[in-house]
Symmetry: C2
Subunit: 224 residues, 2 copies
């Protein structure tokens, strides 16, 4: 006889959080600090939880290094992202809730909605590809449809984008880009676009703002 133990809401939250961090911040391992921080728990709590999660094969944990999700960990994390984004879509599209309120609501519901109800909801909503914030909804199989890439020049103001690649392979521009931190994987936001001055003002993650000419901005592919 098998007993299927459902992961607790807490486990689901940790895995979703770790998956999202691992997608945003490059590097093999996700460090403890980020995890504790984004879940709002003390570092000690995060450490001890990681040991449990490792014991249950959701991830591997290297002391003072960080964690890496296993295949099943990624799968569960993706499932949670799917749930969250489908629920957000439902709350906005069907019930007319406000953009600003839906995150917390979905955060609660995502742990108690069953697979069956979720798939019905997906059909009811017409298999949406994106949630109300524009984030892609992973498929049932756990695949995130790749977002179309655009150049930084064509992107929306104020939207957090992910740098996908640098088109100019000349070492000068690459060196410049690296120095500024303009590297694939980093998140970037356009603060201002000044047509007269032929510049866009950028904010790279937590770093200070800086500007780029239109010509250079066209060399940077982003998504998101």
């Amino acid at each position: 006889m098998f007993i299927i133990v459902m992961p607790s809401a807490t486990v689901e939250n940790y895995l979703k959080c770790i998956l999202m961090l691992s997608m945003e911040c490059k590097g093999a391992e996700v460090p403890m600090g980020l995890i504790a921080n984004s879940l709002g728990v003390t570092p000690g709590t995060a450490t001890s939880m990681m040991k449990n999660l490792q014991r249950e094969k959701w991830l591997t944990y290297k002391s003072r290094k960080g964690v890496t999700l296993t295949a099943s960990g990624k799968k569960l994390g993706m499932r949670m992202i799917r749930r969250h984004r489908l629920l957000e879509t439902f709350l906005v599209e069907t019930l007319g809730l406000d953009w600003s309120e839906i995150h917390d609501e979905a955060e609660e519901l995502e742990h108690s909605i069953s697979e069956k109800v979720l798939e019905r909801l997906d059909v009811f909503l017409g298999n949406p590809q994106h949630d109300p914030h524009g984030h892609p909804i992973p498929t049932k199989g756990g695949v995130i449809r790749k977002l179309p890439q655009k150049t930084l020049l064509d992107s929306l103001l104020g939207k957090k984008m992910k740098i996908e690649s640098i088109l100019d392979q000349g070492s000068d521009f690459l060196k410049f880009a690296q120095k500024k931190g303009l590297m694939p994987g980093k998140m970037i936001t356009i603060i201002k676009r000044d047509k007269m001055a032929d510049t866009i003002e950028l904010q790279l993650e937590k770093k200070s703002k800086f500007s780029l000419g239109f010509k250079s901005a066209e060399k940077i592919l982003v998504s998101g």
Copy 2:
């Protein structure tokens, strides 16, 4: 500064369960045994939980007697019944789930859906009065709309009904009714209706089946 402590899902379950038991089975107190039984916990667990619930003013507990809900206990219990029934309605009406599957789904969701989302759902569904099983949905204020009363003769086959009152006040019939257990508050189900024999076959709670003539059946008012 106030901190509003949300009752846990466990507390919500206990109170909903106790409220339902108190409506089905009359008597001032709901006995421990029933509670432990319907929640599937050991008697000891129920006892210790009742002490906590009493400390938090959800009910009053008399040792070896049972418990009675306070006003706030009733209110929370009603709120849970409302949630449950509205969710069941949504699952059937909107998502097309099967009658048989919805109970467990709703049982989970009722603890994580917010007041706001619930009221939106209510509007979306057109303020339904009954869930798919025909049970009345309490109002937002926690009032259960009284079900119309019918005579036992006019009631549906196989539906569990609550005995509301006995019309014939003659002591003979009352004595007979009492002996059979046909008393207000008891739950009764019509097993069979036999027009030729002029009888209906009844099942009273856990007792054995018995029959009643059409004429007598008309003297018993039921609801539900």
